[in-house]
Amino acid sequence: MKQFARLAAAAVVASLGAGAAIAEGLYTPNLSYRTGPFAATGIPLMNGQADYMAMLNARDGGIGGAMIDFEECETGYSTEKGVECYEKTKGKAIVTQPWSTGITLQVLPKTNVDEIPILAPGYGFSPMADGKVFQWAFNIPAGYWDAADMIVQYIEGQGSLDGKKIVFLHLDHPFGKEPLPLMESLAEQKGFELVPVPVGLKEMQNQSAQWLQIRRERPDYVVMWGWGAMNAGAITEAVKTKFPMENMLGVWWAGHDADLKIVGEDGKGYKSISWSFPNADAPVMADIKTHVVDAGNSQSNEEEMSGVFYSRGIIISAILGEGIATAQKHFDTAEIDPGQLRWGLENINMTEERISELGLDGMVPPFSTSCSNHTGHSGGWMLEWDGEKFVKVSDLLTANVDNYAELIASSASEYADANAPWPVNEDCEG
């Protein structure tokens, strides 16, 4: 027993020592969710993020000479735990990655006080695009309203939407409700009927009632804002009710290979908009294999690494890496602080050339940010499930941001008024 106690004590001391050794460098905590009902979608994303940062550390010695201290704090996708993680990590963090719209909304006011950038790639609160109001928040490279607009554009490409009926199947959660204002506005503009159908967190795997409603409504299209176990539940029910899969389209978080593998061939034709795409031949994949996988430092596997979500994790870390590199170059220092990273994230210029330099060929569309544009509005590709994997079925689609710029501005201003006094970036010219 005494020996066991000594061993345990030694293990604790060793782990503390290891933690202290890692703690040097740029601390970029990730509020991850590898457990709980959303773990199935979280794990490949977290693995992609972690592997990219591990690759940069191993290959280049970090970014600009500073090692990346990429630490995960497990939230299980719980908003309460997410806030705890934020509080626990904010002390030395140069960024926070909240990984849920619910957590993002909770920490949004806190980051304004703590002056730490929130990086919420492809999620969070859509009006965060307005960098003048949300000076510390970024949803690069595209927001939910961009996704909704691109999906509607794609559907419109099949024929006029006037008189059509679209069911909006969504998680009954801040994430699921996020695109509703834009969808309602688009329904009015384009003359289609929008039928919102919510799915409760406890009903994600038993959506028979929702799909009975869809059968009764006889919609022309189903647009899905699903996440975690909801996606597999919805796609299984769609197959069961014989809904034409080619008329079912989802947001980028509803395009996970593992969810579609459950229905396999029956899911053929299902589509998902995406600002990322896996490319096994991209140089970054070879580097990750050499420096991380072969070194035994990856938690991923070959099947997962070929999927959409793992590659999206890589892109998310690459966006953060580019923000860090931009800031280091501008401020001529490796050890940047949160304020400097904010500047970096506001000045990303991800051109085709830069994407190629980073070894990310074909994996992300070009985009750029500014102090007033905290999203980048990269656009995306429509992906389709071919029975085994997702393939691109469209050229790059770009959101018609001008159409809802006013909605972004008014929603941002409404948020600022509701949370007054809310500091805005007066120096930002646009």
Binding site: T35, A39, A40, K202, Q205, Q210, L212, R216, G233, K240
Partner: protein, 317 residues
């Protein structure tokens, strides 16, 4: 408004009877699975007065063990036997390590212990199997996966073959359990322990054996439930939340009543679907299944605090 509540839903039902049949079928499938989970709770409660918070994670753990073993190349039916073996070992370990040292402690302590078991199984499951969504080995188990299309009243009724299988297997399991509890020596011992702990012990019924047995039966129920739900939308830790749907079933049926669990499950399954489709979606924007069963159970509790089939608790002070 009154028309929307009292007239329109019934007009809809008569206008599309095939759709009404579909709603009732979906409710029946959900209901029988709720009843199964509730049975797991009731069996353990009857024999030990423990409200087993771990029933939900046992569903996940059993399903994960099954698909995990199959992924290692073990034939499907051997996986079933091995999973049953794992659930038996789990029952023995829970009895020896958790329950036996807590004999005689207040009920709340035992309840807290089952929360501990839940957290332990979540961690163990994630370490062994990972958190990814896995495909249930439906076809490998010989469960048919097609649909039966019927045309009642000139309409369309879709019956998934795996749902039909789930209903039949669940019904057989319930009947088997009832026979076991009523006609066998061990079954009667479980009931005796539930009826009067002290009296049962005084006539030589072994508490330890019965606890292992009921936890093992709860494990079997968990496996069947895990296969049925997993075949619908994959096997992941999200399955755990399904168990919470059994709580209103227990409130409605009574925590000690096997009949109550069965009838309560079926009632809630069908009524929540009917309410959602004909009242919830048109009048309240949908997603009423999240709360309907709890409200129904609360209304029942107002009039029968012991549930529809529970025993009246009379305590003399």
């Amino acid at each position: 408004m009154l028309n929307d509540i009292f007239v329109a839903p019934f007009v809809d039902m008569f206008a599309a009877p095939d759709f009404l049949m579909q709603v009732l079928w979906e409710g029946l499938v959900s209901g029988i699975l709720y009843a199964l989970i509730a049975l797991g709770f009731v069996l353990i409660y009857r024999s030990s007065r423990i409200f087993n918070f771990a029933q939900g994670i046992m569903v996940v753990f059993a399903a994960l063990t099954l698909v995990g073993l199959h992924a290692m190349g073990v034939p499907a039916w051997i996986c079933i036997l091995l999973t049953l073996g794992v659930m038996f070992v789990l029952a023995v370990v829970i009895e020896r390590v958790v329950l036996r040292p807590l004999v005689g402690q207040p009920d709340i302590i035992l309840f807290m212990a089952t929360i501990g078991i839940t957290l332990f199984l979540i961690g163990l499951g994630e370490i062994i199997f990972g958190g990814e969504n896995k495909v249930m080995i439906t076809e490998e188990l010989g469960i048919p996966t097609g649909s039966v299309l019927l045309e009642p009243f000139g309409g369309l009724l879709i019956l998934e073959q795996k749902d039909i299988t789930a209903v039949i297997v669940a019904a057989l399991l319930v009947v088997g359990l009832l026979i076991f509890l009523n006609k066998t020596r061990m079954g009667r011992a479980i009931r005796a322990l539930g009826d009067d702990h002290q009296a049962a012990l005084s006539v030589g019924i072994s508490l330890q054996t019965i606890w292992v047995l009921v936890w093992f039966i709860a494990g079997i129920i968990a496996l069947v439930t895990g296969i049925a739900w997993g075949a619908r939308a994959g096997v992941s830790f999200a399955l755990e939340v399904i168990a919470y749907k059994a709580l209103p079933v227990l409130m409605l049926g009574g925590l000690e009543s096997i009949t109550g669990a069965i009838i309560g499950g079926l009632m809630i399954g069908m009524l929540e679907k009917l309410f959602e489709i004909y009242w919830g979606q048109p009048l309240l924007g949908g997603n009423t299944e999240t709360w309907f069963a709890f409200v129904l159970a609360l209304i029942v509790l107002l009039f029968r605090p012991q549930g529809l089939f529970g025993e009246r608790i009379i305590e003399r002070v």
